[in-house]
Structure formats: C-alpha cells, structure tokens
C-alpha cells in the first residue's frame, strides 16, 4: 500500500509539473510535427504505392517518437536534479525502484499522449489516413505503447545516470540509442506490417518487442537502486 501510495504521488507530481509548464509538451509536439512535415514534403508525392507509404510512415513515426522520447526523458530528470528535488524525494525514504517505476509510467503516459496526437497527423500527411481503419489504428496504438514502454524502461534508467554527469543530455542519446535498437526494429517492423497488411504477420516482431520491453523493465527495476543512489 505504501509503495502504491508513493508511486501514485510521484506520477501525479510528474504529470502535474509537465502539464503546468507545458515546456516539454510544446517542445516534443513541435519537434514531432516538424519531423512529420519534413518527411512528408520531402518524400510524399513520389510513393504512389501503399506499401512504400506504409514503410515511410513507420520510419517517420518511430524517428519522431524516439527523439521526442529522448527530449522528454532528459527534461524529466533535469527537473528533478536542478534544485535537488530528487534528494528531497530520496530523503522521504522511498525505494529507488518505486521512483524508477513512477518515472517509467509518467514518461509512458506523456509519450503515449504525444503518439495519439501525432500518429493521425502523420497518416494524414503521408496519405494513409483513408486506408487505415479504426481497428488498425487501435492495434497501432497497442504496438506503439509496448514499444514506448520498452523505450522508457531503458531510457529512465540511463537518464537517471546521465543527467547527473556533465553533458548528460547529449550523453543520453549516445548510450540510449544502441540499447533501444531492438525496440526500434521490432516497433518499426510491426508498424509497417500493420499499415501495409492490417495484421502482424506471425507476430514475431511483436513478441520480440514485448519480451525485450519486459526484460528491460524487470532488469532496470532491480538496478534502479544502484543507479539512483550512486
């Protein structure tokens, strides 16, 4: 009960801070829209085939979400470290693993809201909104949420380490991207499959995505104490 209460308070605080300043929200939204627009205007008209447009859309979505995710993770920990608030939280005696879980959930919620807004915009600009049914769109959000969970599971742990170091913001990109390659691969493959065929073709990539996300979530949960306390 105590752990749930603390995690709940931490998530409410994180979301409250992010929605109050709207700084990160605006930043990642504008960034994601720009990525979509640049790709749409650069490549849009030359792909008459649905297959090619599906591949392009998957690339655009995952590129936008991965880099917006890095911005979000960095901002999330910068807010904690800038006035020693993270030390204030540590002094309450909260388990580092609970602090980690709360950060994963709040970043997941934050990024998933972004995905709900950006995905239809990308589909519209890349001429796929008409051919994507509500069922496919919901499956797509399912894939995105599993991928985002894995991304946040790895990213929160690494952001916790990197933001305490000098040049932490750029450091996060360097150490995070190699580790989330399986998530990007699995997520992009599932997205292409959904947008082109409407299904997941055997589900290998989805299983990989889910397994990788859950394994990293469990491993990072166990490592959180060492990372946050050190």
């Amino acid at each position: 009960m105590k752990a749930f209460r603390q995690i709940g308070a931490l998530i409410r605080k994180d979301l409250g801070l992010q929605f109050r300043s709207k700084e990160t929200l605006v930043l990642i939204f504008v960034f994601s829209v720009l990525v979509v627009l640049i790709f749409a205007f650069a490549f849009g008209p030359i792909f008459p085939e649905k297959v090619e447009r599906g591949k392009l859309t998957a690339s655009v979505l995952w590129a936008a979400f991965v880099f917006a995710g890095i911005i979000s993770l960095n901002r999330s920990f910068t807010l904690e470290r800038s006035h020693g608030a993270i030390d204030g939280i540590r002094l309450t005696g909260v388990d580092a693993s609970n602090l980690y879980l709360s950060k994963v959930v709040s970043n997941l919620v934050f990024l998933f809201l972004l995905e709900i807004v950006i995905t239809p915009i990308a589909l519209q600009f890349l001429d796929l909104l008409d051919v994507v049914t509500m069922g496919i769109l919901l499956k797509l959000f399912g894939v995105l949420s599993v991928g985002t969970l894995g991304f946040c599971a790895v990213g929160v742990l690494l952001a916790g380490m990197s933001t305490s170091a000098n040049g932490g913001e750029s450091l996060l990109s360097v150490i995070l991207l190699p580790l989330v390659i399986p998530i990007i691969m699995g997520g992009a493959k599932c997205t292409v499959s959904l947008l082109v065929t409407g299904g997941l073709e055997g589900g290998f990539w989805l299983r990989l995505l889910a397994a990788y996300s859950l394994i990293f979530l469990a491993a990072a949960y166990l490592l959180a104490d060492a990372v946050i306390e050190e």
Partner: protein, 275 residues
C-alpha cells in the same frame, strides 16, 4: 495554531567520559529507559578522486543537543552534512541514526531526518503548499492539508501558500525549507548554513525554531561560518578545518569571545602560506 507534533522524551546524560565526549547512551527520565544517541558518526572519510574532503570525522548528537560545527568555506561542512543526511556515501566510516546503521539501511533512516542544505530540495514550479502536500504524501502523513497549512503559517509564509517557490527570496525559501524539514517531525535536524543570506528577523526566526525543536528532544547539527549566531544557537561546538573535525567545548564551558578567538587562531594557523 500550534502543531501537535510528536515529542521526544526529556533526557539527561548519566555519564561523561574524561576526554569530554559524551557516552553513547543517556537516561530518559520520562520513560526510565536507556535511549540511543540521535546520531553517531565514527571516523567518516570522504574522498573525491585523490582529494580527501572529510577526514575521520567522529561526531555524536544526543536528544535535545544542538551541535554547531564552525568552519570556513571549503572546509568540508556541506559534504559532511550530506553524508550525515545519507545523500552521499562515505568512503569509509560508520554512521548510526537512532541506533540504526544509516549506511546500510538508509531507506528507513532517512524518514528520521530533517535536512536544510543550499539546494531547496523541492520543485520551484510548485507552491510551498503543493510541495509540502507532495512530500507529505510521500511520508504518509495524516491530516496533511492541516499540517502543511499550519507549518507554513508558523514559518510566516501564510500569504504565499499558493505562490510558486521560484519567485521566493532567499529568506522566504529558507523559511520554506525549515517547514519542509519539520513536516514529518524528524528526530534529527541537519542544517547546513541555516543563517546564510538571511536578514535579522529571519535569523531570529531560525534561532527560535532551533530552540523550540531542541526542547522537543530533537538532535540538531548546524554548520556555519558565523561564530556569533552559531554560538547563540548551539549547545556544543566543533571546528571543521581542512576536512578535520575538532571537538571544542560545551556552551557552559566557553564564552562566545573565547570561541571566536580560538576559531580565528585556527583559521590563521591553517591559512595557505603566502596569503
């Protein structure tokens, strides 16, 4: 309205060693039991790379005792306070808070600590009320709204309950920090330079609050380079110079002028050559 915070038993020490240091246990007249020191640090050392910032620091704090550590800038006071607050791990040494191993069981021990350091340990975008409410939820405090409002009123922030912390002056932030440190009625208070940057009224407020907490039996450690205020607030005095702690005297054993002279002499003796 005064807060109904839990109080600690009034106590008196039953023995004192010949070297002037207190024994680890004291007799509690209220409960007739042997209590444990609020804080006991033994040979704490902290290295950053090849530099030793805190050297073999040994310190104990009884219930109702205010230990003032005087030291110049860069002496290692803040590092020591962060180690005592379990925010930094010492390179070596032992630390006990209320008899518990604070290095191994830091999670449990932290709830007994109230800490004021240079950083405000809170969220500038939130108001003092929102900050206390959040941290109160983390501590699991009952009747939180009432406690947060009462504490903020007591520290004189009743007109700024819902203003964001980022617009606060240094003195107002310090008042908020004290309210936050007292939120969960800690048995040990660690105050790093609590008088720094405050006007006369705010300094008096901090002194009064320290005296009030002392009467409740809270063990208090203050670090400061201000000998006058440190003397007035403290009951026992130590010097910290170049990372080394030196026990000086109890308040009833030394006058303020003598303490100041000793402190200045130590500073002069330890000043870098050529300055």
């Amino acid at each position: 309205m005064p807060l109904n915070l839990p109080t600690f038993p009034s106590s008196k020490t039953i023995d004192r060693r010949k070297d002037g240091r207190w024994k680890n246990f004291h007799f509690s007249s209220q409960h007739g039991i042997i209590d444990i020191m609020r804080l006991r640090a033994s040979q704490l050392t902290k290295d950053f790379g090849h530099r030793t910032i805190v050297k073999d620091a040994t310190l104990s704090v009884q219930p109702g005792e205010v230990v003032t550590i005087f030291g110049p800038n860069g002496a290692g006071k803040t590092t020591l306070i962060k180690i005592l607050a379990t925010l930094l791990k010492p390179t070596s040494g032992k630390l006990e808070i209320e008899g518990a191993d604070a290095i191994a069981d830091y999670s449990d021990v932290r709830r007994m600590l109230g800490v004021v350091i240079h950083e405000n340990l809170a969220y500038p975008a939130f108001s003092p009320y929102e900050n206390l409410k959040f941290f109160g939820q983390m501590y699991g405090i009952k009747q939180l709204e009432h406690r947060a409002t009462t504490l903020l009123t007591e520290v004189g922030l009743q007109r700024f309950l819902h203003e964001p912390l980022r617009i606060f002056s240094r003195g107002m932030t310090q008042r908020f920090m004290i309210a936050k440190a007292l939120l969960h009625a800690p048995s040990v208070l660690l105050l790093d330079e609590p008088f720094s940057g405050l006007d006369a009224a705010a300094r008096q407020f901090v002194r009064d609050r320290i005296a009030r907490e002392r009467q409740k039996g809270t063990g208090i450690v203050i670090t400061t380079h201000n000998t006058e205020l440190g003397y007035l607030a403290g009951t026992r005095f130590l010097f910290m110079i170049d990372g080394e702690l030196e026990e000086i005297a109890q308040k009833n054993e030394i006058k303020a002028e003598t303490l100041l002279r000793m402190y200045e002499k130590r500073l002069t003796h330890n000043a870098p050559k050529g300055l």
